[in-house]
Structures are given as C-alpha cells and as structure tokens.
C-alpha cells in the first residue's frame, strides 16, 4: 500500500465530509445495512426524513482506517453533520430520542418540503471512494 493511495482515500473522505451536510459512514447501505448499529442509525435518520449521504466502509478496509484517523473515533457507524463528527450509534440514538438530532439536522417539523436526497447522490459518494480501489487495480 503506497502513501499516494492512502492519501487519495484520505482526501476522498475529507472531501465527502465537507461536501455533504449530513453524511453517514456505515457498514452496508441504507437499503441493506450490514450491522445492527448501522441499521439503527440509518433508521433514525430515515424516521426524521432527513436527507443524507451514505458511504459503505466495507468494500475497502482502508476507508475505515483513514476515517478513524481523521475523526479520532474507533467505531462504525459515524455520522457527520456540517463537517463535524456528531457520533456513532449510541450518541445518534440518544439525540434522536431527546429531539436533539432533529434540531441538529434542521428537520424539526419536517414535512413534504424537506425532500430526500436522490439515491444517486449516496451512490456517487460511495462510488467516489471505491473508484480509488478500482484505479489501483
């Protein structure tokens, strides 16, 4: 594994975090979560009808490595809002139950005006990261 490849992954992750207001790094996808913690976190976001981008960390172990180095957080899932780590499943669920999550995401009194992000966006974020893996062939 070269430094360049690691740097590319690092850059792709930091770019994704800065480009998306709400982004969840998880195991699996929102449609098919691969672990209970990721599933619960996704469910909280979906219950609030909050638009979010999602990145599956499973395809490449380096995604998780770089992410943890960036966020200084050891576990998956990780939810970032406006560039900042909000937390993992435990914190997101606490905030969901207290109403803080809705506030943080700006979806209080959510109604039809707040649409979902089109599925393409989530796929594009994930593709951006896995493209690194593909280019390394």
């Amino acid at each position: 594994m070269s430094d360049t490849e690691q740097n590319q992954i690092h850059e792709a992750i930091t770019r994704a975090i800065s480009e998306h207001d709400t982004i969840l790094f998880m195991k699996g996808t929102p449609e098919a979560p691969a672990c209970g913690f990721s599933a619960r976190t996704v469910a909280a976001l979906q219950a609030l009808q909050a638009p979010f981008a999602a990145v599956d960390v499973l395809p490449d172990p380096r995604i998780r490595e770089e992410l943890s180095a960036i966020s200084q957080w050891p576990t998956i899932p990780q939810l970032f809002v406006r560039g900042e780590l909000v937390g993992g499943c435990d914190i997101v669920m606490e905030m969901y139950e207290s109403g803080e999550l809705a506030q943080t995401l700006g979806v209080e009194g959510n109604d039809a005006e707040h649409g979902r992000k089109p599925p393409d966006e989530a796929a594009a974020v994930a593709a951006g990261l896995t493209q690194i893996e593909n280019r390394l062939g």
Binding site: F37, W73, P74, T75, G87, D90, I91, E94
Partner: protein, 76 residues
C-alpha cells in the same frame, strides 16, 4: 479477551472518580454495554465523553472488544 468486570475496572482506574456498570451484551464475551458516570465528564460533549472511555481501550475496540456500546453522564 476482557470480561465485563475487567472492562469496568479499567474504566474506573483510568477515569478519576468514574463509576462504570458494564454488561456483556450477548454473553459471547466481545460485545459490551457500559454506563459510565464521572465528574470528569462535566462540561464535555457526548463525543468527548465517549472518547475518554474508548481511549482507555485503544486498539482493542473493534478487535477483542468487538463492540462497546456507551452511555455516559456527568456525576450529579
């Protein structure tokens, strides 16, 4: 592989004044749930509080400790 009692002791030793309740969530020895109360948590965000606990275990999180679910609160 640590057990719940060991995890509790390590948290309480590392964070001054902390009281930890730790359960082995699945009975399988690698999936734990901890409630930690400490004056040291006062004024810190949840993230900071959780990081203080995760830091006790370092690289063991995700390894021998497959999952450590946390609830933290500052001492009343």
């Amino acid at each position: 592989m640590p057990n719940a009692e060991e995890i509790k002791q390590r948290i309480e030793a590392a964070i001054p004044g902390a009281r930890a309740e730790v359960e082995d969530w699945t009975g399988g020895g690698d999936h734990f749930k901890a409630t930690v109360t400490a004056a040291a948590f006062a004024g810190r965000s949840r993230i900071e509080q959780h990081r203080l606990v995760y830091d006790v275990f370092g690289a063991e999180i995700g390894g021998p400790i497959h999952a450590l679910s946390l609830k933290t609160q500052s001492a009343g």
